[in-house]
């Protein structure tokens, strides 16, 4: 199998050798960029057959206790701890199974998974197994929303086209999104699926009322953006961040600029934004900025569309911007 030439730590994660000073109560404190890293040539040991079967044969292996017969997937043990360490034997299990419980969906991921969110991760009991395999879950229909995959939902293992012998070489999608042929096929690959491409929503022509709502919303957004840029705490939410965002609504288009603590709304259309947001009603975004409903949730609930999934990160920052402004106001009122 072809392996992409990748670094174990991607270049963009690595900060420069640098330090800065921050001042608290007239005292200076030194902050140094740093990392703690160790490289491994890690043996997969007794799990080698499991990972090699995924990589080279598109098979899922488990282990079966020769006494009690329990089939564990992944094949955790060479000897069954429930049967006084009786030896186990490798067995192949099916590539279809049912969700053990309703899986969570990660919207706010770790720094290493920001580009993969939102994703589900749950446990599937593959047919022929007694224990659950932890898998990532996706849908071919766009963003994974609550309710789409539940306890008992039947899912199928999908193999990535390029595999390196890691658990991330596989993931699952609901069988309800597959054709009977795809369901029947062993070793179904990612490239054989029909993925719905992200499509920018189209809005019907605007009425006079839509245009009036747009103008009023824009005015109110500018006011809240001004407050945010003046708030010391809110500025921290977008410290070091820069994005030019084109926002399209039914009543008109505008621009949002995030620039290292500054947040500004412009009336112009952007030709080359970092990404596009589209929402029929601009009040969805206005409510988010006013801390009356999360913008993240608007994306999840499909009221607001973003052109790049990776920009969930920016959406989180906008939610945090709104929250920090409210927190600062509350603190001022309390103290």
């Amino acid at each position: 199998m072809a392996e992409k030439k990748q670094k174990v730590i991607a270049e963009e994660y690595i900060p420069e050798v640098k330090s800065r000073v921050i001042t608290i109560d007239n005292k200076d404190y030194l902050l140094q960029n740093d990392a703690m890293f160790t490289f491994y040539e890690r043996s997969m040991g007794e799990f080698s057959p499991f990972f090699l079967a995924i990589r080279d044969e598109k098979k899922i292996l488990g282990c079966k206790c020769s006494k009690c017969g329990i089939v564990r997937v992944p094949p955790f043990v060479t000897h069954c701890p429930d049967c006084d360490f009786t030896p186990t034997e490798p067995v192949e299990v099916e590539q279809i199974g049912k969700m053990n419980t309703t899986p969570p969906i990660t919207y706010f991921a770790t720094s290493m998974f920001l580009d993969k969110a939102p994703f589900g991760r749950g446990r599937v009991i593959l047919n022929g197994a007694d224990t659950a395999l932890s898998v990532m879950l996706y849908t071919t229909t766009g963003i994974l929303v609550p309710g789409l995959i539940k306890k008992g939902t039947e899912v199928k293992v999908i193999f990535k086209d390029e595999r390196v012998g890691q658990i991330s070489d596989i993931y699952c999608i609901p069988t309800s999104e597959l054709t009977p042929e795809q369901i029947a096929k062993k070793g179904l690959q990612e490239s054989e699926l029909n993925w719905e491409a992200p499509k920018e929503p189209e809005f019907p022509p605007a009425s006079n009322e839509d245009i009036a709502i747009f103008k009023q919303s824009l005015k109110e957004m500018r006011a809240v953006a001004g407050e945010m840029s003046r708030s010391k705490r809110a500025r921290r939410a977008i410290e070091g961040w820069k994005r030019d965002i084109a926002v399209k609504t039914k009543g008109g288009e505008f621009a949002m600029y995030i620039n290292d603590g500054n947040f500004r709304i412009g009336e112009e259309k952007l030709d080359s934004p970092d990404f596009i947001m589209a929402c029929e009603d601009p009040r969805t975004l206005l409510d988010g900025l006013r801390y009356k409903g999360a913008i993240t949730d608007a994306v999840i609930m499909k009221k607001l569309w973003i052109s790049k999934n990776m920009e969930f990160n920016t959406v989180f920052k906008l939610d945090r911007l709104a929250r920090f402004l409210v927190m600062e106001k509350k603190e001022q009122a309390t103290r």
Binding site: T102, I105, T131, P146
Partner: protein
């Protein structure tokens, strides 16, 4: 017969989202100084130290406790570090208890400390994604780390498993009310990270999803800070108490349990936190508690997530599984209700400085027992993947 063990002193640092002004060395000493002062003993009187530090990567060093031995004035004395995920603090108290009850030492320092938010993600220019990444190194390294395991999503699995089994429980209006209630209770905790962050249930419901089904204001916040206790065996405790004039809060029960880390037949039951059930009931048995509903006045539990707080209280036998929302709906944990739950604001509002958190909970439980003149408290820590680990302690005020 094992010796009785009591808490004779306690102290904590402020819990903050970031302590730019202090390293974990200084935080550890700050909490120790407070605890020593509270017990009115000298550090020279302390026989041994039990360190609760969760994650080497947070402290950016392996064996993070070794520099503390001298800094705390305990050179040449025994020192043991306990690391049990989120339950580190509770397990640390449990270990110290065992040594004192076994008459190995007379006075022990229990010290929890954590410095989490030095971690920083230079790509998103924020700490949180790097903090949760650091915790995510705790997931199974062969099968789960590479598919986005986080502490949040693993606890969410258990919560959703519970909701699968008990549909209609853990209602969002109830979890929102609990978060709001904790935000009110935290007003009285001057050491809390979010002392002045009172939120309405509506704000909780409107906060964004982090990991479904958890919203931002239903999750604990990462903190930096330290917490310390002075524990002593019975006779020594009585002498210290006579000298300090402060009552002894006895540790009368301790119980722990670690579940399987993977699910399925003969493995982890994903619809329950069995470790919470076993840990609490083992502690009840040791303390001679037959009916926890009657016996327990205060619960200081590890509320990593509000939904898990509810499940944990059910596992403790303090509310029925299928009627867990009665915590709010029947007013059980509301002001005037029969249970005082997390008067410190919990880890949601006081903050979660992992190794220190459960020790902070014990600090709060002791304070509340004395100030309110109540008898019995349950202190709890949960941790690891899928709420796998639990340690519980019963505290009793004479």
């Amino acid at each position: 017969m094992a010796k009785k063990v009591g808490i004779v002193g306690a102290g904590i640092t402020p819990f903050k989202s970031r302590w730019h002004e202090k390293t974990y060395y200084e935080l550890a000493q700050m909490a120790t100084r407070e605890a020593i002062r509270d017990a009115d003993v000298s550090i020279k009187d302390v026989d041994a130290v039990f360190y609760g530090i969760y994650n080497d990567i947070f402290e950016r060093t392996a064996i993070p406790e070794h520099p503390l031995q001298g800094i705390l004035g305990l050179q040449n004395k025994p020192g043991i570090r306990i690391s049990c995920g989120g339950a580190t603090g509770a397990y640390t108290m449990s270990a110290a208890h065992a040594y004192l009850a076994g008459e190995r030492y007379k006075i022990a320092l229990v010290l929890g400390v954590e410095k989490a938010t030095d971690c920083f993600d230079f790509l998103s220019m924020s700490a949180t994604p790097e903090v949760i990444k650091t915790i995510a190194w705790s997931g199974d390294s062969f099968f789960e780390q590479k598919i986005g395991w986080t502490a949040s999503d693993s606890y969410a699995e258990v919560v959703l498993g519970y909701m699968d089994k008990y549909p209609g429980t853990l209602k969002s209006e109830v979890t929102a009310r609990i978060s709001s209630l904790l935000s009110e209770q935290v007003r009285n905790n001057p050491y809390a990270q979010r002392q002045f962050d009172q939120v309405t249930p509506e704000e909780v419901i409107n906060s964004r999803y982090i990991v479904y089904p958890f919203k931002e204001m239903e999750i604990c916040v990462y903190s930096e800070g330290a917490a310390a206790l002075i524990l002593a065996e019975e006779e020594t405790a009585k002498a210290i108490s006579r000298n300090s004039g402060k009552p002894i809060v006895w540790i009368t029960g301790v119980g722990e349990s670690n579940e399987h880390s993977f699910a399925g037949k003969n493995h982890k039951n994903m619809s329950h936190i069995v470790s919470d059930y076993l840990g609490s009931h083992r502690a009840y048995e040791m303390a001679g508690i037959k009916d926890p509903v009657k016996a327990i006045d205060i619960v200081e539990l590890h509320d990593a997530f509000v939904h898990q707080l509810e499940i944990s209280l059910a596992e403790f036998g303090l509310v029925p599984y299928e009627k867990v929302d009665s915590l709010i709906e029947d007013g059980i944990m509301l002001p005037g209700g029969r249970l005082l739950v997390n008067p410190c604001g919990g880890l949601l509002y006081c903050g979660h400085a992992v190794g220190a958190s459960n020790i902070m909970s014990a600090w709060s439980a002791r304070k509340e027992l004395i100030e309110r003149n109540l008898k019995t408290a349950l202190v709890h820590g949960t941790g690891s993947t899928v709420a796998q680990y639990t340690a519980c302690l019963i505290l009793e005020h004479e």
